[in-house]
């Protein structure tokens, strides 16, 4: 009998998991609302980390591990990081064999960038469009397995809920065919979640609006544990344009881009003043915090920070920053070859998410998670270039674990019973929202929710604003979510609002509970790092309608 795996999400993590399983003879169902070409992974710009040591800097695995651990500030598993770091060169090699192009130096070796917070140049890249190049390569491999019938893609399908056996072990999931509007049940011994960060909870991020956070929210609502939800990365150099935040890749600073503001009529290179020798190439949390601090010190009306790349060689723009320049020209109408770019920190990455062990098992048996949706490898702050690696490696590792774990094999008839139960639950939940008296618009409610989250979960937080945020959340629930049904939105969007609301509230509670400052979590009222109480993972859980927050030891 075929062994079956279900993979939800078709970015780096989902594609790698599918390939790994298909290679081992598994039958894979790969689910995503849109094809992989539309996954956030295609937006990755600057590159991926691997100890390739092509720059004569004597880079070692120990260095890569040390940089990652240092930046994670004690709340990521060293065991997991070490395995990832050791696998990285092999992954790059595999990608090259699949035809992925990396930028090379004149001697033919791969060129490497030095990203913030790293002591050595270690980031392999394809100009400033690394993500798309890698996705194209992985898609080619998946295509071959599709034709062989080993991977079946369910593009145009959205995850709805998990299917569990009588003991709460995951044995499949319900998905929705978005073209036909029908539900479909898939069964497999394992389900791998690879649905990316919860951008939709915050809105206004540098990433894809398609990563709504709906899957994470649904799993949390169904008792799956979450970790470190309060750790949200603000990327130092983003620009607000036409309804979203545009990323100016870290590649710009890696090439020597300088940050400054204007003080007393003169350029003030505050990063170079505060971090002599390193300048803007500190880790992202430090850089974002510094921009925030510098702006606080400047008078009203002069609170601007600029990124200067005008002194770069023209060739650098051609070979290493092609996409970055064209984004600036298109969306900012500024040419980084001639103009300085006004920047401000913006939400870019979620270090927290679904809690997984160092082998990517979630708190629910049969359920695994990898990529940005999972909380692994990055701790309090993610290094540039480590998340492409974390997603690729995480996908491979999650699939490997899922294939090695023991699973109960059920007969078709047994599965039918579980499937029926999951469908009827879904149906019951849907029926419960339909026809409720209030008619507030769902997108408008979502925006109100995002507004609260943004205002309370800024670069700097404190108890007053967080408590106020929680109060506003409760108010929002009573006013717009409870007893509401928006006929102009689909019924499952109506259903999801409450789940998102619960996850959002949990994030605020995590931030409130961590009474210290660590990495991207900066508390105005607790400016110091408190290792005694908080060198731990924040664990969030929903039980009997109550959100519980605990601090537990890191694996």
């Amino acid at each position: 009998m075929n062994q079956n795996m279900i993979v939800i999400g078709a970015g780096f993590a989902g594609l790698c998991a599918s390939i790994q399983a298909a290679e081992k003879g598994y039958q894979v169902a790969l689910v995503s609302p849109m094809p992989s070409e539309r996954a956030q992974s295609v937006m990755a710009a600057g590159g991926m980390n691997a100890v390739l040591n092509t720059k004569g800097e004597n880079d070692t695995f120990e260095d890569h591990i040390a940089d990652t651990v240092r930046s994670a500030l004690g709340i990521a598993s060293e065991k997991a990081i070490s395995k990832m770091v050791h696998s990285a060169p092999g992954i790059v090699d595999r990608l090259i064999k699949e035809g992925v192009l990396f930028t090379r130096m004149a001697d033919g070796n791969l060129d490497l960038r030095r990203f913030g917070g790293q002591k050595k140049a270690r980031t392999a890249f394809s100009s400033s469009g690394t993500g798309k190049q890698i996705i194209t390569g992985l898609n080619q491999v998946v295509r071959k397995y599709e034709v062989q019938g080993k991977i079946v893609r369910y593009s145009n399908h959205t995850y709805m809920r998990i299917v569990e056996d009588a003991n709460g072990v995951v044995v499949g999931c319900v998905i929705r065919d978005n073209l036909e509007g029908k539900f479909l049940v898939l069964n497999g011994e394992s389900v791998i979640i690879a649905t990316g960060g919860f951008n939709g909870i915050m809105g206004n991020t540098t990433g894809s609006v398609n990563n709504t956070g709906a899957v994470t929210a649904n799993l949390f609502f169904n008792g799956v544990e979450m970790a470190n939800l309060e750790f949200v990365q603000y990327h130092p150099t983003t620009v607000y344009v036409s309804g979203k935040r545009l990323l100016v890749s870290e590649a710009a600073r890696s090439e020597g881009g300088r940050l400054f503001s204007i003080r007393n009529g003169e350029r003030w290179y505050f990063m170079e003043e505060w971090f002599p020798g390193v300048g803007a190439l500190v880790s992202r949390d430090q850089c974002s915090k510094s921009i925030y601090r510098a702006l606080k010190m400047l008078p009203e009306g002069e609170k601007h920070v600029y990124l200067d790349m005008t002194f770069f060689d023209e060739k650098v723009f051609k070979t290493k920053l092609a996409e970055t320049r064209s984004d600036c020209l298109k969306y900012l109408k500024l040419d980084p070859m001639k103009d300085v770019i006004p920047v401000y920190p913006g939400i870019h990455y979620f270090m927290g998410g679904i809690k997984v062990d160092s082998e990517h098992r979630t708190s629910k048996k049969g359920l695994y998670a990898a990529g940005e949706c999972a909380c692994q490898y990055h701790g309090a702050n993610r290094l540039g270039g480590n998340s492409v690696l974390g997603a690729l490696y995480g996908g491979l590792e999650a699939a490997e674990t899922a294939m090695q774990d023991n699973h109960t094999i059920y007969s078709r008839d047994e599965l039918k019973v579980f499937n029926k139960k999951a469908l009827s639950r879904l149906d019951r939940n849907l029926k419960m929202v339909v026809g409720k008296p209030k008619q507030y618009s769902i997108p408008a409610t979502q925006m109100a929710l995002q507004k609260i989250m943004n205002e309370c979960l800024g670069i700097e937080r404190n108890a007053t604003t967080l408590l106020e945020g929680i109060r506003r959340m409760d108010e929002l629930y009573d006013e717009r979510i409870k007893d509401n049904y928006d006929q102009t939105s689909s019924y499952f969007k109506n259903l999801q609002v409450k789940e998102r609301w619960v996850l959002s509230k949990a994030i605020l509670l995590c931030a409130l509970g961590r009474k210290e400052s660590r990495g991207s979590h900066m508390r105005e009222d607790y400016p110091e790092q408190n290792d005694e109480a908080f060198a731990k993972m924040t664990l969030a859980k929903l039980k009997d309608n109550n959100i519980s927050i605990q601090f537990v030891d890191v694996e």
């Binding site: 192009l101 080619q140 894809s208 609006v209 036409s242 309804g243 979203k244 939105s489």
Partner: protein, 234 residues
């Protein structure tokens, strides 16, 4: 200035299409994608005549010209909504006409079913057997080939394409140009070449309409020449 967005709508694949117009007043330095989001997040969406309207169904993901989700026909030209700015579109008239891609089966409003692009890629066997052959001289052409976002704008513009005839247009040949080159000499490469002829060369009459609409500005003409040159030498 008040801008009117004239939208071609359709409730489901078989329903009758109709136009509905929405009014917007505000910053013109925004994209059509942003405008669609603004309209959809209004507490009550109404058209110019004040009639209550359903939310507009459309696809987007990156909103920065990197994923191809938001391809549609804007002022009679296939383009990406996130790459089309109001201020550029209203130079002649303050009315912007937005329609779904017409060559693909309709789903709802601006959403169409582009599955044929992806099944076509499978039919053309667009993958590499064994290790990829990498060659410095081809780097830039292969890089550009991999930038194709499979949005469908090229097929929309192409007079030879429909979803039934198996013709894969520019998206097919742009992908093939890299895949053929990166495959070692041998049976798979031959098969991909054969597929390139069957799904492209046998029907392309070189109007090059695709060239003018590709949002990624891929040099389709160059790639075409590369592939046909390969045929001559092999």
């Amino acid at each position: 200035m008040k801008i009117l967005l004239k939208l071609r709508r359709q409730e489901n694949p078989t329903a009758k299409p109709y136009f509905q117009t929405f009014a917007y007043e505000g910053n013109n330095n925004i994209s059509v994608a942003n405008l669609l989001n603004i309209l959809n997040s209004r507490e009550n969406l109404t058209d110019v005549s004040g009639k209550k309207a359903a939310k507009i169904s459309w696809e987007c993901s990156c909103i920065e010209k990197k994923c191809g989700a938001c391809a549609m026909v804007i002022n009679h030209k296939p383009r990406l909504a996130c790459d089309s700015f109001l201020e550029d579109l209203i130079s002649e008239s303050n009315e912007i006409i937005v329609e779904p891609l017409r060559k693909f089966p309709k789903v709802r409003d601006l959403r169409v079913d582009r599955r044929s692009i992806f099944t076509g890629m499978n039919e053309m066997k667009m993958w590499i057997e064994g290790d990829a052959v990498l060659n410095d001289d081809d780097y830039s052409s292969h890089y550009l080939s991999s930038r194709c976002i499979m949005c469908g704008c090229c097929l929309e513009a192409c007079p030879n394409f429909n979803t039934e005839n198996g013709f894969m247009g520019a998206v097919g040949i742009v992908t093939a140009s890299k895949i053929i080159n990166q495959n070692k000499e041998g049976s798979h490469r031959k098969e991909v070449e054969k597929n390139a002829i069957e799904h492209f060369f046998s029907s392309c009459d070189q109007t090059m309409a695709c060239y003018n609409v590709c949002p990624m500005e891929i040099p389709i003409d160059d790639m075409l020449v590369r592939v046909s040159k390969g045929f001559v030498t092999s």
